[in-house]
Structures are given as structure tokens and as C-alpha cells.
Amino acid sequence: MPIRRTKGKHLLVVLAGIVLVSLVLMTINIRHGKNNLFFESMVVWAFSPVQNLLTNTVDSISDVFDHYFFLVGVSRENERLLLEIDRLSRKTNELLEKSKYGERIEKLIDDVDQKERPVITAEVIGRDATQWSKMVFINKGTKHMIEENLAVITDAGIIGHVIHASAGTSKVLLITDSRSAVDSLFQETREPGVTVGTGKDVCEMKFVSVEANVKVGDEVLSSGLGGVFPKGLMIGRVVDVVKKKQELFQDITVVPSADLSRLEEVLIVLPVKEDS
């Protein structure tokens, strides 16, 4: 009986220890906010070579499958692509005209922010180790001038921002994560709102008044407020709008313009250096 009681006490002490250690870690995380934690950097540093190796191996294997084994329907695909090239050529001409028009207009307007933002390219080498958070690892870190709160984009639009940077790798919180929020506006109507993650593959645009004219297909851009994302970057497209008369705001679902499930290369937007 005394042995059983001692064992029970021992387990209680261990239980209390686990809860205490976890609470201390959570408190450190919440109090430090988005600052680097030493042990976090150490673990990320230790695992990144293996992640790199595995990602490259999987990419190579999938490349072999794509180019040698999945040749069925290539001829049909070729015909479709030729038609697509024709369509894109016409579109390019149209855009060239518009671009020249834009250049002429730009000369007339005294733009406040004329400086181009420098970007760094990085490869996605891993994803979140848990089920619940939407985060990716990239192969650039503090030694490549990456720091917390830098915007991460692709040619299609915003994908997220850096939440942790260690020497050679960084963590990027995707815009679909339930903790992500991007101050945004609609391209057409300039109606403001906040695009928040849902934990699913889509986002929601919050705080858009029921009076605002929002349609399916409207494009959502970053507003530049909040200091993380530069103004005018594409976030996504509206796919669902629900207006309830008794509520102040609309329920708007936005699909990110970038394909977050197939991220390979990304761009990190560096801060603009002020010339003194």
C-alpha cells in the first residue's frame, strides 16, 4: 500500500511538472511575442538540413514522374497551350498599351512612394509540424537579412509574413492561419476591411459594412495599413457574400490568389532603406 501511494505521489509530481513547464513555455511565448526564442532557433537549425534533403529528393522524384511517366495527354495539352499562347499574346499587346499609358500618367502624378521594394527569393523547405497551424519553413534567415514581420509573396499575391527568423531558415505564417489578419480593401470600390485566416484553405473579410457593394469575383488588395504588407498587393478574390439584415457586417469569403498548398518559391519583401 505505501509503495502504491508513493508511486501515486510521484506521478502527481510529474504531472504538475509537465503542466508547469508547458505553462512557462506558453508564458515566455506570449510575453516575448514574436521575438526569437533560442531553443526554437536551435531545433530549426538542427532539422533544416534534413528537411532540405528530403524536399529536394521528393522534388527530384516528382520531376521524374512528371516528365517521363505522365506523358498521357501531352499532345492534347500541347494544342491547348498553343491556343493559350495566342490568347496571351493578344493580352500582352493590350497590356503593353495600358502599361505605356500608365507610364505617361505616372510622370504626371507626384507619387509619394517611388522607391522599389527590394525582394529576396527563397524556397519552401517544410511545413508546420502540427496539424493545426498554417505555417511554412523557407530556406532564408537572418544572415540573408530576413527578420520578423516581413511580407512574403509570390507572383500571384500575398502568402503570409515572417514570424520567426533563425540564421538560415525562417517560419512564415500563412494568411489562412486563424491568427493571421491583413488590413485590406477591395480593388474596385476601395471599401476597407480585414482579411483574416480561418484555418481552412480560405480567408474571411471582416468588418465590411452591409451597405458596401461587394460582389463575387471582386479582388481584395492589401491596404498598406498595419506596417507589415505594402499597399496594393493582391490577397485574393471574393467567392461568397452573405448579407444578413440584422447584422452590421457582411460575411465575405475570400480565396487566396496564391496557391498556398503548392508553394515552392516565394519572395520576401525587404523594408525600403531610407537614404540619408
Partner: protein, 171 residues
């Protein structure tokens, strides 16, 4: 030697979890190899080794995640403690008991994360979405867990043949 093999298995599990496991995801849900590994170690480590493994694996998972730090240390640590304390009192062999415990621990893991995220981080997640996701996660873990248990069992027996030890169960 056993320590070295343990570290290699751990590195491999996390490397797979964070790289190409997503290829096998169903509706964005994929199995949690770390959780399955903790349940396995809780059952098969002699004495209270499973507790240490649970805390260590949870801690590494926290480091490799964008979620709130400490949540995985808590859930995996408690999982390790549960199985270390009760492994001799409950049936932990056979397909049904293993599947049952994997489903139960997955539900526990999901609920801890959901509670931490909504209460401590102030995230807004729709409850029905989260709970359906946790259910799929639990079933997926049970299926993947059976396979991983089989592989780990084979490795454990091989390890005992080559390096007889007092760390892992021999049967």
C-alpha cells in the same frame, strides 16, 4: 547506440512530417506522426521513459510549429504520462485497443490545441469546423498509427536481437 537510433528515428519522423506527409493529406488533414510515436513510446518504454519522450517530442514539435509554444509539450507530455502510468493496467496490444487509444489521444491533443488557440491566442475558429477536423484527424491517426506501430514493432524487435537492452520492452 539505442540513443543514437532513437535520435535518428525522431529526426526522420519530424523530417517526414514537415516535408512530404502533406501529399497524403485528406481534406487538409494529415496524421500526426509525433503523437503516434509518443503513444508507442509510452507503451513500450520500460519504467517511465515514455514521459520523457512525450515532453521531448512535444517540445521539438513546438519548435517546428507556428502555433503557441508549449501546447504540444503539454499534450504530448500528458499523453506520455498517461501511457507510462497505465500501460501495465490496461490492454495496449491488438488492433482495436491501439486504434481506440490513438483516437482518444488525438481527440485530447486536438481539444487542447483548440482551447489554447481560442482562449490564449484569441483566434476565432468556428467550432463545428474545428471539431469535424479533429474527428477526421483522430480517425486518420488511428489508421496511420497501425502501420507505424507495425514498423516500429519490427524495428524494436530487431533492436533487441542486436542490442539487448533495459530501455524498451522485449515482447
Amino acid at each position: 547506440m539505442i540513443l543514437l537510433i532513437f535520435v535518428l528515428v525522431l529526426v526522420l519522423l519530424f523530417a517526414v512530417q514537415t516535408t512530404f506527409l502533406e501529399l497524403f493529406s485528406v481534406g487538409g488533414v494529415m496524421p500526426d506522426l509525433a503523437l503516434i510515436f509518443v503513444v508507442y513510446c509510452g507503451i513500450h518504454f520500460l519504467r517511465n521513459g515514455g514521459i520523457g519522450v512525450g515532453v521531448l517530442v512535444g517540445f521539438i514539435q513546438d519548435c517546428l510549429s507556428g502555433a503557441l509554444f508549449g501546447v504540444n509539450t503539454l499534450s504530448k507530455g500528458l499523453t506520455g504520462l498517461f501511457f507510462s502510468a497505465l500501460k501495465d493496467k490496461i490492454i495496449v496490444k491488438g488492433i482495436l485497443p491501439i486504434s481506440f487509444f490513438l483516437v482518444a489521444t488525438s481527440l485530447f491533443d486536438g481539444v487542447i490545441y483548440f482551447s489554447a488557440l481560442t482562449s490564449l491566442m484569441g483566434a476565432q475558429i468556428k467550432g463545428d469546423f474545428m471539431f469535424s477536423r479533429i474527428l477526421v484527424f483522430a480517425v486518420f491517426n488511428a489508421v496511420a498509427g497501425l502501420f507505424l506501430f507495425y514498423v516500429l514493432d519490427a524495428g524494436r524487435q530487431q533492436l533487441h536481437r542486436k542490442f539487448p537492452n533495459q530501455v524498451l520492452r522485449s515482447t
